[in-house]
C-alpha cells in the first residue's frame, strides 16, 4: 500500500506542476469517448482511495481559477503523516487553518466513481486536500511527456538558425579577388599525366582490366631439355619431404575380418595414453555406397601442410640391414679346436659349495676346497677322491705349488694359510717335503722385523704341515712359478696388505706399503714382476727394485680376479659387473678390449698355460671359453674369439660357478660350482 501511495503522490506532483501551465476549463471536458470510459473503469477499481469527494471538485477548480499559488502554505512536508490526526491540513496565506474535507466512505466513493464516466481523469491532490480533474490538453501533455517528447505540440525543437548578427554589407572574411584565369583553362599537369598514362597503356605497361583477365592460362613448357643439366642444383642440401604413409589393409572400406579390432580391444584403447592410442580404428562397411565422407580428411591434409613447412627435416640413414650382418665375422670354431666343449666328468663328494680348485703341475691331481670345511684331492682321470683333510674352516682358496718336486698344497682359511703335504710323489720327494714342512723352533720365524705381528709360522700337528697365522682375514694366495715364494693378500691389512713369503726360509715380509684395498696379487710367469689388483686398478711392480712400473686403468667397478697370459704381456681382468678386460701391457694402460660377458659377477678368469685359451666363470652358472692368439709381432693385435658357453651348474643361494681352472697340459677345464660339484669339460 505504501508503495502505491508513493506512486500516487508522485503522479500528483507531476500533475501539479503541469496544472500551472495549462489552465483548462474542466467543465468543458464533458464528452469523452466510450473507449476511454471503459479503460478508465479499471483504473477506478484499482484506486478506490483516490476517488474523494465530488463536491469539492467545483470549489477546487474555482480556487485554481484565481491564479493564486497553492493556498496551503505549510510547505513540502509529509502531510499524510504529520497531519494524520489533525483536522486541518495547513494554513492559508492569511494564517487561517485549512480544514480537512470530510472523508467519504468507500462504498459511496466507489459508486460515485462507477457512475461518473470522467472519474478516470480525476486526481486527488493531497497537499491541498482536493480533487482535480484533468483536462484533455493536460492528458495530452502527460502523454507527450511520457513518450519523451516536448510537452507542447506547438513547440518546434528544430527551428531554423537565425544568425545572431548580420553580415550584409559588412565585407567577406574570404578573399574577394576575381576568379583567376587558370580556373577556366585545362590543366597542363593533368594533360601531362594523361599523356603519360596513355603512353604507358599503349606500351602495355599498364593493363586495362579486360586484358588482365585473359592471362589466366599462361602455361608454357617450363622444363626444356637443357634444364636437365646439373648446374641447377639446390643449395644447402635440399631435403624433400617424406612421402605420406601408404595405406595398409586395415584402411580398406572392407578390410579382412582379422584387421577389425574386437569390442574389448576398442575399449582397451580408452585406457591407453592419448599418444599411444591408435589414430585409426578399422571399420567394415558392407558395400561401397554406405561409406561416409571421411570427417578428418581436410584436417589430415592440413596437418600434412603444417608438417611440410613447420617440421625440420634432416636426412637420416635408414638402417635396413639384416641383423645377422651386424654380428662380427668370427673365425670358425672348427679351426680353433681343441677347446673344452662338453662335461666329461663330475667330481662329487663335497657337502657344500666348492670355493676353489687347483690342478697339480703334473696334471694328475685336482685339489679342491669347500665351505664344508674339507679340502680334497681327486684323481683327475677317474674322479676318485684320494685324500680328505678336515681343515675345520671354510677353505677359501687352494693352490698347488707349481714346482713338480714340491707337491705342497696351500689352503687359505679364514685367518690361516695351511701348507699341506699332499703326499704325492716318490719317497725322495716325500722325505724332502717333510723336511721342508717342518719348523724346528717355533720362534725361529719371529725375527722377521716388521711383519712380526703380521704372520706367525706354526707347525700344524694334525695334518703334518705348516700353519701360517695371519693377523687379519686372508683373501687369496698365489705361488711364484719357481715354487719357493708365495704371496697372500690381506685386504684389510692396510700397509701390510700384501705379504710375500719364502717357504724355504719360513720368512715373510711386506714390501709394498702404499696401496688401496687389494683384491688379488699375482706373480709374473717369467719375469721379476708382480701384479696387484685393487678395486679399480691393476698395479704392476718390479720386484727387484720394489717400485711401481705401471698402473692399469680397467674402467670397471670392482675387480674380482686377474690372470696373466703365459707370455706375460697380456692380462685379463674379471669384474663383479660381468665385464672382462684384456690388457696388452705393451700397448696401453687401458683395456685393449672389454667384453660384457656375464650377467652376474665374474668369479674367476684364467689362462691356459699352453693352449691359446682362456676362460671365465661367473655366478650366472656359466663359464665361457675363449680363444686368444697372441702374436709375437707387436703390430698385430691379439685375436680373441668367444668359443663356447659351458652350462651345467645349478645356482645355489644366488651363486653359480665359483672357480675354474685349466688342466696344465690338456685343453680341459675344471669348474667348481656352488652346487658342490666339480665338473671337467673336455674337447
Amino acid at each position: 500500500m505504501g508503495k502505491e501511495k508513493y506512486e500516487e503522490s508522485s503522479s500528483d506532483e507531476e500533475v501539479n506542476s503541469s496544472s500551472d501551465v495549462v489552465e483548462a476549463s474542466s467543465d468543458e471536458e464533458v464528452e469523452s469517448s466510450s473507449d476511454e470510459v471503459e479503460a478508465s473503469s479499471d483504473d477506478v477499481e484499482s484506486s478506490e482511495d483516490e476517488s474523494s469527494s465530488d463536491n469539492e471538485k467545483v470549489e477546487e477548480s474555482d480556487s485554481s481559477e484565481d491564479e493564486v499559488a497553492p493556498r496551503n502554505t505549510v510547505g513540502d512536508i509529509p502531510l499524510v503523516e504529520w497531519h494524520k490526526d489533525e483536522e486541518h491540513i495547513g494554513y492559508d496565506i492569511k494564517g487561517r487553518k485549512i480544514m480537512k474535507q470530510p472523508r467519504k466512505d468507500k462504498l459511496a466513493s466507489f459508486i460515485e466513481g462507477a457512475d461518473d464516466p470522467k472519474n478516470w481523469r480525476k486526481i486527488y491532490d493531497e497537499y491541498n486536500d482536493e480533487e482535480i480533474e484533468l483536462t484533455k490538453d493536460e492528458i495530452k501533455i502527460i502523454q507527450r511527456v511520457i513518450s519523451g517528447r516536448t510537452p507542447h505540440a506547438e513547440v518546434n525543437p528544430y527551428e531554423d538558425y537565425v544568425d545572431w548578427f548580420e553580415y550584409e554589407d559588412k565585407g567577406h572574411p574570404l578573399s574577394n579577388a576575381p576568379e583567376p584565369k587558370r580556373r577556366f583553362i585545362p590543366s597542363k599537369w593533368e594533360q601531362k599525366r594523361v599523356a603519360n598514362l596513355v603512353r604507358k597503356i599503349r606500351a602495355g605497361l599498364i593493363k586495362v582490366s579486360d586484358q588482365h583477365k585473359e592471362e589466366e592460362h599462361n602455361v608454357y613448357s617450363l622444363w626444356t631439355d637443357d634444364t636437365d643439366s646439373v648446374e641447377n642444383k639446390k643449395h644447402g642440401g635440399y631435403v624433400p619431404a617424406p612421402k605420406p604413409k601408404l595405406p595398409g589393409h586395415e584402411e580398406a572400406y572392407n578390410p579382412p575380418v582379422e584387421y577389425i579390432p574386437t569390442a574389448e580391444e576398442i575399449n582397451s584403447y580408452e585406457l591407453m595414453y592419448e599418444e599411444d592410442r591408435p589414430k585409426f580404428i578399422p571399420r567394415r562397411y558392407l558395400n561401397y555406397r554406405s561409406v561416409p565422407a571421411y570427417d578428418k580428411g581436410v584436417k589430415e591434409s592440413f596437418d600434412r601442410c603444417l608438417d611440410q613447412y613447420l617440421c625440420p627435416r634432416t636426412r637420416k640413414k635408414r638402417i635396413n640391414i639384416d641383423p645377422e650382418s651386424l654380428k662380427p665375422k668370427l673365425p670358425s670354431r672348427k679351426d680353433l679346436r681343441p677347446y673344452p666343449t662338453t662335461c666329461y666328468l663330475e667330481y662329487r663328494g663335497h657337502m657344500g659349495p666348492v670355493n676353489c680348485i687347483s690342478v697339480d703341475p703334473s696334471g694328475q691331481w685336482l685339489a679342491s676346497g669347500s665351505t664344508d670345511g674339507t679340502a680334497r684331492v681327486w684323481e683327475i682321470e677317474t674322479g676318485r677322491c684320494l685324500k680328505i683333510w678336515e681343515v675345520g674352516e671354510v677353505a677359501r682358496q687352494i693352490c698347488w705349488n707349481p714346482s713338480p718336486d714340491r707337491p705342497i698344497l696351500a689352503v687359505v682359511l679364514e685367518y690361516d694359510v695351511l701348507l699341506l703335504n699332499s703326499g704325492m710323489g716318490d719317497i725322495d720327494i716325500q722325505t724332502k717335503m717333510k723336511e721342508l714342512l717342518h719348523i724346528s723352533e717355533p720362534g725361529a720365524t719371529e725375527d722377521a722385523g716388521d711383519s712380526k705381528s703380521a704372520v706367525t709360522w706354526i707347525q700344524h700337528e694334525k695334518h703334518d704341515g705348516i700353519r701360517m697365522k695371519h693377523f687379519k682375514a686372508v683373501l687369496s694366495i698365489e705361488w711364484h712359478f719357481k715354487g719357493d715364494y708365495f704371496t697372500t693378500v690381506v685386504p684389510s691389512g692396510d700397509s701390510k696388505a700384501i705379504l710375500l713369503h719364502q717357504l724355504s726360509k719360513k720368512h715373510s715380509e711386506t714390501p709394498f706399503r702404499k696401496l688401496g684395498i687389494p683384491v688379488t696379487a699375482v706373480f709374473h710367469p717369467s719375469k721379476k714382476k708382480f701384479f696387484v689388483a685393487t678395486k679399480k686398478f691393476v698395479h704392476v711392480y718390479d720386484l727387484s727394485k720394489v717400485e711401481k712400473i705401471q698402473k692399469l686403468e680397467t674402467g670397471v667397478r670392482e675387480i674380482s680376479s686377474i690372470s696373466i697370459h703365459p707370455g706375460g704381456e697380456n692380462i685379463i681382468v674379471g669384474s663383479k659387473e660381468g665385464k672382462m678386460c684384456w690388457f696388452d701391457l705393451e700397448l696401453s694402460t687401458r683395456p685393449y678390449k672389454t667384453l660384457k660377458v656375464h650377467s652376474k659377477d665374474i668369479t674367476r678368469v684364467t689362462f691356459h698355460r699352453t693352449y691359446p685359451l682362456f676362460a671365465s666363470a661367473s655366478d650366472d652358472c656359466t663359464a665361457y671359453v675363449f680363444h686368444s692368439t697372441v702374436y709375437s709381432d707387436l703390430n698385430q693385435n691379439p685375436l680373441i674369439v668367444p668359443l663356447e658357453i659351458l652350462r651345467g651348474h645349478k645356482p645355489e643361494h644366488g651363486r653359480g660357478v665359483l672357480d675354474c681352472k685349466y688342466h696344465p697340459r690338456q685343453p680341459w677345464l675344471f669348474t667348481a660350482g656352488a652346487d658342490s660339484i666339480i665338473k671337467l669339460y673336455c674337447h
Binding site: 593493363k207 582490366s209 602455361v219 608454357y220 617450363l222 622444363w223 634444364t227 641447377n232 642444383k233 639446390k234 644447402g236 631435403v239 605420406p244 601408404l246 595405406p247 595398409g248 589393409h249 584402411e251 580398406a252 572400406y253 572392407n254 579382412p256 575380418v257 582379422e258 584387421y259 574386437t262 571399420r283 558392407l286 558395400n287 561401397y288 555406397r289 561409406v291 561416409p292 565422407a293 571421411y294 570427417d295 578428418k296 580428411g297 581436410v298 589430415e300 591434409s301 600434412r304 601442410c305 611440410q308 613447412y309 613447420l310 625440420p312 627435416r313 634432416t314 638402417i319 641383423p323 651386424l326 654380428k327 662380427p328 668370427l330 672348427k334 662338453t342 667384453l595 668367444p642 663356447e644
Partner: protein, 607 residues
Amino acid sequence: MPPKHYRAPGKKKEGNAAKYITRTKATKYLQVSLNTFRKLCILKGIFPRVPKKKFEGNHKTYYSMKDITFLAHEPLLEKLRHKRAHEKKVKKAKARKNKELAERLLNRMPTYKLDRLILERYPTFVDALRDLDDCLTMVHLFASLPAVEGERIQVKRIHNCRRLSHEWQAFISRTHSLRKTFISVKGIYYQAEVQGQKITWLTPHALQQVLTDDVDFNIMLTFLEFYETLLGFVNFKLYNSINVKYPPILDPRLEALAAELYALFRYVATGSTRKPAENQSIASTEEKKDSDEKMDTGVNESDLQLAQLQHQLPSNEPGALMQLLEDSNNDDDDVDQDTIECKTLFKNLKFFLSREVPREALLFIIRAFGGVVSWEGEGTPFEETDEDIAYQIVDRPTQGHKFLSRHYVQPQWVFDCVNARIILPADAYMVGMVPPPHLSPFVDDEAEGYMPEYAETIKQLQATAKKNVMPLPDLDNQDLADPQNLIADGVMDRTQANEAAGERRKLQLLEKQYHDELKMEMSGITYSATLSNKKSENSGSEEMQHKDEVVVPVSTEKNDEDDRAKLYMSRKKRGLYEAIEISNQRKKDKVAVLKERKRKAAASKSG
C-alpha cells in the same frame, strides 16, 4: 669476466650461430610479418633445420641462414610488399568512400607468378613428378570441397582444381599408366607410374566434405596456390609429350552435363591421333581409320572445330574411337610390359555404370585399363540396353530389368581386378552379396609376414591366369585349375586351408627349383656337375651341423651361437642389433594378433 658466449665487437659469428637463425630473428631480418614469412617459406619450399647445437634454446625453430639470405634476394618478397602497400591504398580509398578509386585499385592489384619458383624448386621435370603426391592429393581434395564464402575458398579456384585434376586423370588414363587403386575409408588411392616415378594420390569420396574449425585455410590456400601452378605446368608438359594441345578445349555440352572427364577423354583421344595424321605416308588399310584421320587433319587447324566435329561423331560408337586409339598406340615402341598389361586388362569389355556408383573414379579406372564405359544419363556413349555390355556395375540391388548376358557386379570388383591385373571371377562380387575383403595393393605381404586369405586366393588365380608354370601332374591341381573353387576356397575351413597352403608351398619350392635349373641350363652349366657340387656342399655343411649337434645340446646351440657373436659386438652395434630384434618382435606380435583374431572369427563363424 666476459659472458659465456662473448663475441668481441667486429668479430663475426661462428659455428652454428652463424649457420642458423631462429624464426623470429629471420622475420626481423627480412622485415616481414610472420604471415608473409610463412607464405614465402611455403612457396619457396624452405623448411626449418636442426642445428647440431641449438644455441638459442631447445624450443625454438631454426632456419638455415643460407635459406634466409636466399629469401632476402627473392623478388617475390618485393612483390608481396607491393601487394600489401596496394591493399592499404584500397583500404584507404574505401574508408574515404571513394568507391571509384577503390574499384580501380582493386582491378590493378599487383600479381605475381610462380613459374620461376617452380623451376627453381624442381630443376628437372622428374623432380617435379617426384614431389607430385601432395600436390595431387591437395588439388583433388579442393576439387571436392564446397566453396565457402567465409573461408575465402573461391568458386573459381575450386573449378580450377577440378579442371586440373580431370586433366591429370585424362592423361593417366590415356597413357594407361595407372597401376594400383585402393578404396579406403579416407577416399580412393591411386598409384600411377609416370616416367618411372611412382605417384600416389588420394581422392576423397564423392560426398560433401566435412569442414572443421581447426583448419587454417590461409595456409592450405597458399599451398594450393603453388600446387595449382605446378600441376598446370606438369600437365602442359605431359600433354605435350603425347602431342595434345594444352589447355584442352572441351565439348560444352558434356561440360554442362558435369561429364568433364569424359569430354577430356574424348579430347585427349582425338588429340593424340594428330601424330599419325601428320605422317600420312603410313599406309592405312582400314577405311574407317582413313576417314577418321582425314577428319582429324581437317580438325588440326582449329581445336574448337575439332571439339565440334567430335561432337558430330556418332556418340554411341566409342568402339571405333578406341580402335583408333589402339592403332595409333601400336606405333609406340617405348611402351613397357607393364603398360601393355594394363592397357589390355579390360580390352574389348564394355562396362555400364548404374546409379550410386562412384562414376568418375570408375570411368577413370576402366578407361585407364582399356575398357569402354557408359553410364546413365545424357550424352553417354551407349545405352544400358546395349547387348555387348559385359559388366554392369551396380551397388544397390534394384528391381529393374536384368540382362542375362552381363554380370552385375559391385564396384569393388573393378578395383580388385585392377590390383590383381586379371579378370577376377565375378561370382563373389554379385550385387547384394557381401564382397570378399578389399586388400591394399600397397602392402608387401611377404615383408609384413602375414598374408590374408584372399590375397593367397588372388595369387593362385594370377598363377593360373598366366599359366607360366604348368601344374605338376602328381599334385592335386584342382584348386589351381578351377577359379570357382578357389573362391569357394575362401570360405574353406582352416585345416583344409593349411593343407592347401602346405601343398602350395611345396609347389612353389618345386617351381623355384625348376626355374633355377632352367636358368642354369641357359647359362650352360651341366646339371650333374652342379648337382654334385651342391650335394657335396650340402653334405659338408650338414656334416658340420651334425657334428655340432652331437657336441652341443640342440636347444641351446643356436642360443649359444647368438650369445657368442653378441659378446664380440661393440656396444653401439649391440644396441642396434637389440633394437632390430625388438622391432622384429613387435612385427611378429602384430601378426600374432591378426592370426588370433582370425582364429577367433573362424571359430565364432563355425560355432
